[in-house]
């Protein structure tokens, strides 16, 4: 019988831990592409698979980017990663991250890398940040000595805007070839005096990138721009603008323009300037990002307003959320979906009596949590519950 691999053991441990949440966040795009080296219009199919398993203290996730322009869908970049929260302190946490990345360029494997990193992050309602250090083993690493890699990033959210910026590093290898020295023999043949020699030098590439996102109702606009630089490496700038308009809960119109590196796993991660227009089949306007330290949907404010005798309105602001639900004694401890008012605003009307009430909120089918800012208490079931007083 085949022995279980470490990944299988981690996966099993994650699944056995409670509570476990699994989320599939894949999108499927049918687009028309304009531009590139061929300066033509071509149809294109894009697949951005995504899967996240959240087991509380650890997560496993996979995401990637697949594109087909000639009838065959090909995964051109993929990443599988796991992180474990080793410590938590106030709004901060320490994470250990292991990621395996595979990229293709022009149909051939270009990079396979194993990256390990320790990160220190903190997250509040409107801002967050992280700092990390780690190392990388690459398939094209040769015998070059390896260096430590550093990273730092942060994000802030105000109203309907989210801004993030990060500077991180990857390892690359520069190979110098010293050709063989040959000598012609008296017999008119060539003898090798000095054989060919290849020197590998480990280089650190730094990537600075910023992202500005805005969303209101079914409309999302996002701009991602960055600069990659390093020793012996000409600086390369890239930028892509993307907009998505949700037509229904499962269908969105998408348009992109610019160029993007595959590490962003966006539609048409090409090194050529292109524009695309198409439709996206996905449970949300845009797939959620899984990168540690990235801004996640969160409740930034909420209030209970009396609208009639025994009738109250619960109003929640949750930027980036695709679904908001409440569960509490006032709902008989059954999930009750809030109505989306547009932008980040959600609302529900509930029958409540004055006094103490217990409730939990959940975003995007995630874990049930006490709303931020309310008093909390252990719920007796290994979790916590929010305590509100209705006067």
């Amino acid at each position: 019988m085949k022995r279980p691999s470490l990944a299988m053991l981690i996966l099993a441990a994650g699944l056995l831990a409670r509570p476990v949440r699994a989320e599939v966040a894949s999108s499927f795009d049918l687009c028309a592409r304009l531009g590139g080296a061929e300066h033509s219009v071509a149809s294109m199919v894009g697949l951005i698979p995504g899967l996240e398993i959240d087991a509380g203290r650890g997560r496993l996730w996979f995401d990637g980017s697949g594109v087909s322009t000639g009838g065959r869908l090909r995964l051109q970049a993929a990443r599988a990663a796991a992180d474990a929260r080793v410590a938590r302190f106030g709004p901060g946490e320490a994470l250990l991250l292991v990621a395996v990345t595979r990229e293709e360029r022009r149909g051939k494997p270009a990079l396979q890398a194993l990256r390990t990193e320790a990160r220190l992050g903190w997250s509040r309602r409107r801002a967050g940040g992280w700092i990390g250090a780690g190392g990388q083993l690459s398939s094209d690493g040769g015998h070059a000595p390896r260096r430590g890699l550093l990273g730092i990033g942060g994000w802030a959210r105000t109203g309907t805007f989210t801004f993030s910026a990060a500077l991180d590093q990857t390892e690359d290898v520069r190979t110098t070839i010293f050709p063989a020295v040959l000598e012609q023999t008296p017999e008119s043949t060539w003898a090798v005096l000095v054989p060919e020699r290849r020197d590998h030098e480990s280089l650190t590439l730094s990537h600075a990138h910023t992202r500005l996102g805005w969303s209101r109702g079914p409309l999302e606009v996002e701009t991602v721009a960055g600069l990659t630089f390093g020793r012996y490496h000409a600086p390369r700038r890239w930028i892509q603008a993307r907009t998505a308009l949700g037509l229904t809960r499962q269908l969105a119109l998408v348009a992109t323009a610019g160029l993007l590196t595959p590490q962003w796993f966006a539609l048409d991660a090409s090194r050529e300037r292109r524009a695309t227009l198409g439709v996206r089949l996905v449970p949300a306007v845009a797939p959620s990002g899984f990168a540690p330290g990235a801004p996640r949907p969160a409740v930034t404010s909420w209030r209970v307003k009396r609208i009639a005798e025994g009738r109250y309105a619960l109003e929640v602001r949750a930027p980036g959320a695709r679904a908001v639900e409440i569960m509490g004694d006032m709902t008989g401890w059954e999930a009750f979906g809030l109505a989306h008012l547009g932008g980040s605003r959600w609302r529900a009307e509930l029958d409540m009596t004055p006094g103490v009430h217990r409730l939990n909120l959940r975003l995007d089918d995630g874990p049930w949590r006490a709303p931020l800012g309310v008093a909390t208490a252990p719920d007796g079931f290994n979790g916590e519950v929010g305590i509100i007083v209705v006067e």
Partner: protein, 222 residues
């Protein structure tokens, strides 16, 4: 014994317990729909016992429903319901047989949040004829906001003994909540606000604007 037979016996036992418990109510229907037969039997037994003792049963049903919604295992749900029933019983012991259902529910909530049962007795002594619901609501909220049980009890008992009305206590809660949000330590905020309420601007008036988070040098723990 085959598993099917064990399950059938459990189901029959659960049905007998349900039949003995009295006529089916909406709560019973919700419990039956969401609990497995074994857990249902034990929860129904606790609920029936509480009902016979004259204790309110709605909070016990709510606790069981909360457990099922959070996918807690059956034994943990039974434990949580049993603890809640014990807290209701302790609240009745503290308040006496004349306590209203609302007072028992609020008292049990405060006990489950970590309050000492003696505080309930002293609260009853401080307010022998008026309802204790609002003082208990305020106490539960302060405990949930990480105010230590002793500091929360001193604040609410002190204000109640000084004749604070329900409105004063609710304002006290709001101001302590605001101070904690602005960075004051929960114990410090509770002590300072209660002292201001009792000795500052007086009961029944607007408590003063002293904010422990801003003028820490003026604040001392009792």
């Amino acid at each position: 014994m085959p598993r099917a037979m064990i399950a059938a016996v459990r189901t029959v036992l659960a049905m007998i317990i349900l039949a003995l418990a009295g006529p089916a109510s909406a709560d019973d229907a919700r419990l039956r729909a969401r609990l497995d037969p074994e857990t249902l039997g034990q929860v129904e037994a606790i609920v029936a016992s509480a009902s016979r003792s004259g204790l309110p049963t709605a909070p016990l049903v709510a606790t069981a429903l909360e457990g099922t919604s959070k996918r807690a295992p059956g034994p943990r749900i039974v434990l949580a319901v049993r603890r809640h029933a014990a807290a209701l019983s302790a609240a009745r012991d503290a308040f006496g047989d004349r306590a209203s259902e609302s007072e028992l529910v609020a008292g049990a909530g405060a006990l489950l949040a970590g309050l000492d049962p003696d505080t309930l007795v002293r609260l009853r002594d401080a307010r022998p004829r008026q309802s204790l619901v609002i003082p208990l609501v305020v106490l539960s909220d302060l405990l949930a906001r990480s105010v230590p049980a002793g500091a929360a009890a001193r604040a609410v008992l002190g204000a109640t003994r000084a004749g604070a009305r329900d409105g004063d206590l609710l304002k006290l809660r709001q101001r302590i909540e605001q101070d904690i949000r602005e960075g004051a330590s929960p114990a410090e905020a509770a002590a300072a606000r209660a002292r201001t309420l009792v000795h500052g601007t007086g009961i029944g008036k607007n408590p003063g604007a002293q904010r422990p988070g801003r003028k820490r040098s003026e604040v001392s723990l009792p």
